[in-house]
């Protein structure tokens, strides 16, 4: 009967959707929320040499920061702040949260250079990704995150320091503004709110 | 006696109570820690009105919604100006809260505005007094919150660069943070705020006047005003009170530059909370200093009716630039407090005196004809004689004898010459009426005296005689010595 065929087809569809790869497919083709920064199509290259857009981060809560490797003053402190956050995460959170770092410096911070940087700072675990991009991509991301930056005359960048937390869909849910901030709120958010 | 003692004791008791409570003023830490109960939206008022006193005894969460609106409005008659306002008026809305309150502040920048704006409230402890958290583009809103750690009357103003311009365009107002126990009750409360204004054209130049940064930097305002426009507190806008009421003025000064010497002509400030502080009262102050970015609270009982003029006592600001307001007090007069003018007397020390008449700069050519004498004489009369003998020679009954159809005058020309040249005192009878006054001697030229007498004789039904300079010279009398005090004078 047509009705039974239909019923069987539905069961098949539902069970297929229930399987993991197709769940991933379903996730992919769910619309990205209108207020998510993952709507951006700006291209980036990871320190592993992969070309991605921001939506590659979709599916896990993400801690985002922008810096550049030749920055001597504040960027090392930013890394410490990020590591302080990581330290405060529960085991479960640690397994889910990813750290995405984007460089201001399109010319010096090539993927290879970023890989070197990651290694020398012991940040080459699976949860840490460094990204290199062209000027247009850097500008767009900074604008999306509300980060001010300016290329200085003698090289180097003048930039604000904001650590941003995105939910699994790329919506900004928290900003940790300024260096050396006590990350209690950020850690609490990552540990509790995102995991249910 | 008994009555006075009681009121004195009452006054002392009140003073003691105020002083005692001030010694226990809450500290910033106490206010920081005071727990919040409930929530309310602040009642904001336009000047010169003030929101009602706080009656609650607990700290609460207060939501303040303040909108910035750029408008074109009247600066003076025929003079328009682009004001930037908090709430549509200059000064901006009056905010009234209590120490310990938690304020959730919404700064709303109207989408029609061109400029970004923010706010620095002097009641806020924290970056920029709120300015750091509130820079807002047109069509957007910023929200921040603060705890009122200190009581006092505080200025708020815009702090967006160029700051002087934002303030000069009217972006200032007052926020009152009441002490825990509140302020003593009064009959009337008013909101007065001074500001200096700088226009491209001078004071009074008509039309839409743009802001002049050059004059602002030189601190040379064209207008110094209470409540944002010339005459805002006069005429229909006058503050009013009734005799016997206590009036409290919350006075602010937005500047941007000038310090105010605030004074109410005809009144004394019984109490002043100097600089808007809540813990120390000064009594019996005539003029109190209100710096730009500062405030004062003045309080006084109005004892007798009058129009009390509020001024900045740097007086050309009041009389030439507009720093004038009015408090109109109505009710029964108290003549003991102020009698008004009781009498108007003649004051003439040492008998008659020579009055140097108004002389023209150039010596006029001698009058040759009677017509000329009359014409010249009329001018002399108008300049010198009208005050007493009046325009048509009618004089003033019981004071100054008439010259019109005067029997005294017409009877004796020589006597008339002697009267003008030498003066006259004592009792005279003119046209049936007795006069007992003093006419001074006149140090006029013989020509002038001849002309004025000819004029008088030719006017108002008199005999039409002519008097010549030679006749004056021949018959002039010396000014009389001081006579004995006339019996009937008073």
């Amino acid at each position: 009967m047509r009705f039974n065929d239909f019923a069987r087809f539905s069961v098949l569809v539902v069970s297929l959707i229930g399987s993991a790869p197709l769940r991933a497919l379903a996730d992919e083709i769910q619309p990205i929320p209108k207020n998510s920064i993952y709507l951006s199509k700006a291209p980036w290259t990871t320190h592993e040499g992969k070309t991605v857009t921001l939506s590659s981060l979709r599916g896990s809560p993400t801690v985002v920061s922008m810096l550049y490797t030749s920055c001597k003053a504040t960027c090392p402190l930013t890394l410490l702040d990020l590591q302080a956050i990581e330290k405060g995460l529960t085991a479960e959170a640690k397994s889910k949260v990813q750290f995405a770092i984007f460089s201001f410096d399109s010319s010096t911070d090539t993927p290879a250079h970023l890989k070197e940087f990651a290694n020398s700072h012991n940040l080459s675990g699976a949860h840490w990704t460094f990204h290199s991009g062209k000027v247009a991509s850097v500008r767009e991301l900074a604008a999306l995150l509300g980060i001010r930056f300016k290329l200085l005359d003698g090289g180097g960048f003048d930039h604000s320091n904001i650590i941003t937390v995105l939910d699994t869909e790329g919506v900004i849910i928290h900003k940790q503004v300024g260096l050396k901030q006590v990350p209690t709120e950020t850690i609490a958010l990552l540990n509790q709110t995102l995991l249910h | 006696m008994k009555f006075r003692l009681t009121t004195q004791l009452q006054a002392l008791a009140a003073l003691a109570a105020i002083t005692a409570s001030s010694l226990q003023a809450a500290t910033d830490i106490q206010n920081r820690d005071e727990p919040i109960e409930g929530q309310e939206t602040a009642t904001l008022t336009d000047p010169p009105n003030v929101p009602p006193p706080i009656t609650r005894k607990k700290a609460t969460k207060v939501i303040v919604n303040l909108e910035v609106k750029e408008i074109q409005g009247r600066l003076a008659d025929g003079v328009q100006y682009t004001f930037w306002t908090y709430g549509g008026k200059v000064p901006g809305k009056f905010i009234r809260i209590r120490e310990g309150d938690l304020v959730e502040f919404h700064l709303n920048n109207h989408p029609d505005n061109k400029m970004p704006h923010n706010i620095d409230l002097h009641a806020v402890t924290g970056q920029g007094g709120g300015a750091g958290a509130s820079l807002t583009a047109p069509g957007h809103s910023s929200v921040f919150s603060f705890k009122a750690l200190n009581s006092g009357l505080y200025v708020y103003h815009c702090a967006t660069a160029p700051v002087a311009m934002h303030i000069a365009n009217g972006m200032y107002g007052l926020i009152l943070v009441e002490p825990k126990e509140g302020l003593p009750a009064v009959d009337k409360e008013f909101y007065v705020m001074q500001g200096d204004f700088y226009t491209r054209g001078p004071n009074g130049e008509q039309g839409l006047q743009p802001f002049s940064m050059e004059k602002a930097i030189q601190e040379k305002p064209d207008y110094v005003l209470f409540n944002g426009s010339v005459g805002a507190l006069t005429g229909e806008g006058s503050l009013t009170a009734k005799v016997g009421e206590t009036v409290r003025l919350y006075v602010g000064n937005g500047g941007p530059n000038l310090t105010s010497s605030f004074h109410a002509i005809g009144e004394i400030f019984d109490q002043v909370w100097a600089e808007g502080n809540m813990s120390h009262i000064t009594q019996n102050v005539q003029t109190t200093v209100v710096p730009p970015g500062g405030s004062a609270i003045t309080q006084f009982r109005v004892n007798t009716p009058a129009t009390y003029i509020l001024v900045d006592h740097a007086l050309t600001r009041a009389f030439n630039k507009g720093a004038i307001g009015m408090l109109k007090v109505s009710g029964n007069e108290d003549k003991t407090v102020y009698s008004g003018k009781t009498t108007d007397e003649v004051y003439m020390p040492e008998g008659t005196s020579i009055r140097v008449a108004e002389q023209s700069a150039k010596p006029a050519p001698v009058a040759k004809t009677k017509a000329e004498r009359i014409e010249r004489g009329k001018a002399v009369y108008t300049a010198n004689c009208v005050a007493c003998h009046q325009a048509n020679g009618e004089g003033i009954p019981a004071a100054f004898p008439p010259l019109a159809k005067s029997d005294f005058l017409n009877a004796d020309k020589i006597r008339a010459i002697k009267t003008v040249t030498g003066g006259l005192q004592g009792i005279v009878k003119v046209n049936g009426n007795t006069f007992n006054g003093v006419m001074p001697a006149w140090a006029l030229s013989n020509d002038d005296i001849a002309n004025v007498l000819t004029f008088v004789y030719s006017s108002w039904g008199n005999s039409g005689k002519v008097v010549t300079a030679a006749e004056v010279k021949a018959n002039a009398a010396k000014p009389q010595a001081a006579p004995a005090k006339p019996k009937d004078s008073h």
């Binding site: 019923a7 539905s10 069961v11 569809v13 539902v14 959707i17 083709i29 769910q30 619309p31 209108k34 207020n35 998510s36 709507l39 199509k41 920055c71 003053a73 247009a136 500008r139 767009e140 604008a143 999306l144 001010r148 300016k150 200085l152 180097g156 960048f157 003048d158 930039h159 604000s160 320091n161 300024g178 260096l179 050396k180 | 750029e70 408008i71 074109q72 682009t82 989408p111 029609d112 061109k114 400029m115 970004p116 923010n118 620095d120 920029g128 300015a131 750091g132 509130s134 820079l135 583009a137 047109p138 069509g139 967006t160 660069a161 160029p162 002087a164 311009m165 839409l208 743009p210 930097i217």
Partner: protein, 269 residues
């Protein structure tokens, strides 16, 4: 369970189709002709308004020759862009790229309210939208330095500029927006840099280090890397303060009734 399956199917069908509803591209369809004429701004040295140290206040920077649109982008221009790039229509654009006041002055996604708007500068556009438009034409937003350099006009039209600025900045926005090109161009041939609308620049907020912009020059080392403090070279140039304050109050997704843009292009050497 049966009922649940029935309900799921219609829900799933749209997503089984190849078209992905939410994808938004920055790369867009190639443009047509009829775009605002551009003029060449000859390069030179220029004294920027904000410097890291006041001791450098006379320091001049080099601005290379570049091309700048002679007029702000109009509603007509922008309409063409939107028609060819549907993800920038009012009903489709991601909130993250433009807040909900985007193009609110238009009648519909693709129509204006009246003919007059055709030649008025487009407003209610965000930085992302403005950037996308310029990149669609192979150009970019001018940098703040380029924009201010063009306005400076090597001092040629200082008087006229100041008069236009004073007039516009001090009158509230209750009048209809003017059309482009109604006033004389400056020495470079550029019209309406002031007097019509504020304009987006590439780096609109990087010169402001403090949100309150009282230009007290204090460093905020926790917030900003490197110099972190910028000082205005001429604190009596209050009109420049107004422009920089305005830019500093903006975020990239903002739109306002008084903010438009024009495009610039680097000249190939």
């Amino acid at each position: 369970m049966f009922i649940v399956h029935i309900n799921l199917l219609p829900f799933l069908l749209p997503y089984l189709s190849p078209t992905v509803a939410a994808a938004q591209a920055i790369e867009t369809v190639a443009p047509q002709k009829n775009h605002p004429t551009a003029v060449v701004i000859k390069g030179g040295t220029y004294r920027p308004f904000y410097r890291p140290r006041l001791s450098e206040s006379d320091k001049r920077i080099v601005v290379k020759s570049f091309e700048l649109d002679a007029h702000p982008v109009t509603n007509q221009d922008y309409l063409e862009f939107v028609k060819k790039n549907t993800q920038f229509t009012r009903s489709q654009i991601g909130r993250v790229f433009a807040e909900d006041t985007y193009l609110k002055h238009w009648q519909t996604d693709h129509t204006l309210k009246n003919e007059k708007e055709l030649k008025q500068p487009v407003t209610h556009v965000s930085w992302f939208a403005a950037t996308a438009y310029c990149q669609w034409l192979g150009k970019d937003l001018p940098t703040t330095d380029q924009w201010e350099y063009a306005l400076d006009d090597v001092g040629r039209s200082a008087k006229a500029t100041k008069a236009a600025i004073l007039k516009w900045y001090s009158v509230p926005n209750n009048q209809e927006l003017g059309q482009i090109g109604q006033h004389k161009a400056n020495g470079y041939g550029v019209h309406d840099l002031v007097g019509l609308v504020w304009e987006w620049t590439q780096d609109f907020n990087n010169s402001a280090t403090s949100a309150e912009l009282r230009s007290d020059g204090t460093k905020d080392e926790n917030l900003f890397c490197a110099s972190g403090s910028l000082n205005a070279v001429d604190s009596s140039d209050y009109v420049k303060f107004m422009r920089f304050s305005f830019r500093g109050s903006l975020q990239a997704a903002f739109t306002t009734a008084n903010l438009g843009f024009r495009c610039a292009k680097e000249l190939t050497p």
